[in-house]
Amino acid sequence: MSTYSLSDGLASGAPRLTRAPLLAGWLKESGAGVAASAIWIAFGLSCLWWEDVGDWSRTRSLGIAAFIIAAVALFGTVGADYLGSAGRGLRQRAPWLVALGAFLTLWEVATAKFAWLPLPFFPPPQAIIEVYTDDLPKLLDSVFASVRLQLGGYLIGAAVGFLTGVSIGWSRAVGYWVHPVLRFIGPLPATAWLPIAFFTFPSSWSASTFLIALATGFPVTVLTWSGVASVSNAYYDVARTLGAKSSFLVLKVAIPAALPHVFVGLFMGLGSSFAVLVVAEMIGVKAGLGWYLQWAQGWAAYANMYAALIVMSLLCSGAITLLFAIRDRLLVWQKGTVKW
């Protein structure tokens, strides 16, 4: 650092005086990225070095992809300062890239190269990649079918559950009639209705929609109800002295106050409706990811099963992320909510 130039000053925020802190700082910022890059190179090499024990067509592509990721990790973290938020995000996730690379390398070696794990049951990464490239249309069809079924059933269940919950919480008469029915039917797992639903409904699709709605509706109803019931009377007193009519009390006091509970119900409903969706698809509906899983099992196509499982988990997680994002939008007034 004997000469000082303008670009120097602009690029590195604070001037660093000695070499040791410089190295330490660099290691702290980019060390994980470099490690990630190294481990992904190792993964790529593990793909290309040895011969596969089976017949997989995507081994070479996977190896090359690993090298590309290694390059991105290296340049992305070292040059993060020039990449804005993308660079910062990459740096933050670099330790995870290390772990993932290590896991993939181990997996690759244990399956495709030395078959330490029994083979058809534990397909190597390239077999799963092969599913995504070669069986894409069928997989996409299944994704669309699942999303459509789930979305329809969930929205119906959530809407009906919300309205029922508000009515029970608000009106004693409605509570008198609905509460016993809810107690009798609600706790029953929705899947127990499967056999009956499939022959009483005109189509397996409508039967499944009903079951998903049922699985969603119960927790949403109960939590909306308890949310409305637990609203402090002080809020109603305030609103009434200010001239509120009962419609205002329901729409502008009871419902907003109950909303945090409602979202817990929606979250629980989402979980139980996923379970129903998969079972319904496996048993009755001849489409969707559940059906794809079943089909893959029938053909002993284990790679397809893992591929479908990964997609399914991404979808479910995505759905929950979406729900939480909506909640955070609507409940900005709450402090200290859980980040998903």
């Binding site: 402090s232 002080a234 809020y235 007193d237 305030v238 609103a239 009434r240 002295t241 200010l242 001239g243 509120a244 009519k245 205002f248 502008k252 006091v253 907003p256 106050a257 909303l259 409940l331 900005v332 007034w333 709450q334 402090k335």
Partner: protein
Amino acid sequence: MVAAALAEAITHPAAGAALDIEQVSHAFDIDGAELPVLSDVSISVEPGEFVALLGPSGCGKSTLLRLVAGLDRPKAGTLREDERRIRSPHPSRVVVFQDPTLFPWRSVWDNVALGLEAQGILKSQRHRVDDALDLVGLAAFRNAYPHQLSGGMAQRVALARALVNDPRILILDEPLGKLDSLTRITMQSEIVALWQRKGFTTLLVTHDAEEALVLANRVFVFSERPARVKADIRVDRPYPRHRGDPYLADLRRQILGLLGLDATW
């Protein structure tokens, strides 16, 4: 001039209302046992009067205010606003409760707008919300949520939420209890100024004899539970009043005596 006065009269048609509390008794059921809280309370308030209610903690002051607001019905006796029997809440009688009870899901502005919104007149009267917020000095916090406010600020928002409705009877349940002494004194003179300008009838519950004497025309002193009216004291002193006024100091000693404190201080 005339037009301005007319406009003023239209936006603020309500001067104070008379309030008659006639032989009101009330009791609560606690675990099957009856807890008498008010016993034969009669208070007659002239339109535009500022009345303070003083009494020991738990004697039934808040209960009486709930009856005046129309939130509860008394076990015996009647309450009237301008000869009309009080049977249910009405925005002409607005309460500032002991707890601010702001709606946590609404911003400060939306909390203050609550009454106008409930009455369906918010669209044309939005400026009243801004005015009320200016009045309590919280215009800068219009977009804050209640959990971001201090206790005193929350209480001021609650005051603004009541004032925005131009009540004919303003019911205050220890509204200044949580404020620091400086803000408290400022708010006291704000309340007096407002009351003088708008002319509403005011019913103020307080623990503080001095506060009662600085603010009110009349001070009612209650007994221990069940509350009876022990004394009805007129405070004939012009505003603004001075805390050191010997006349008020004398009344204060008298009131503390009624509340069972020795007048040695």
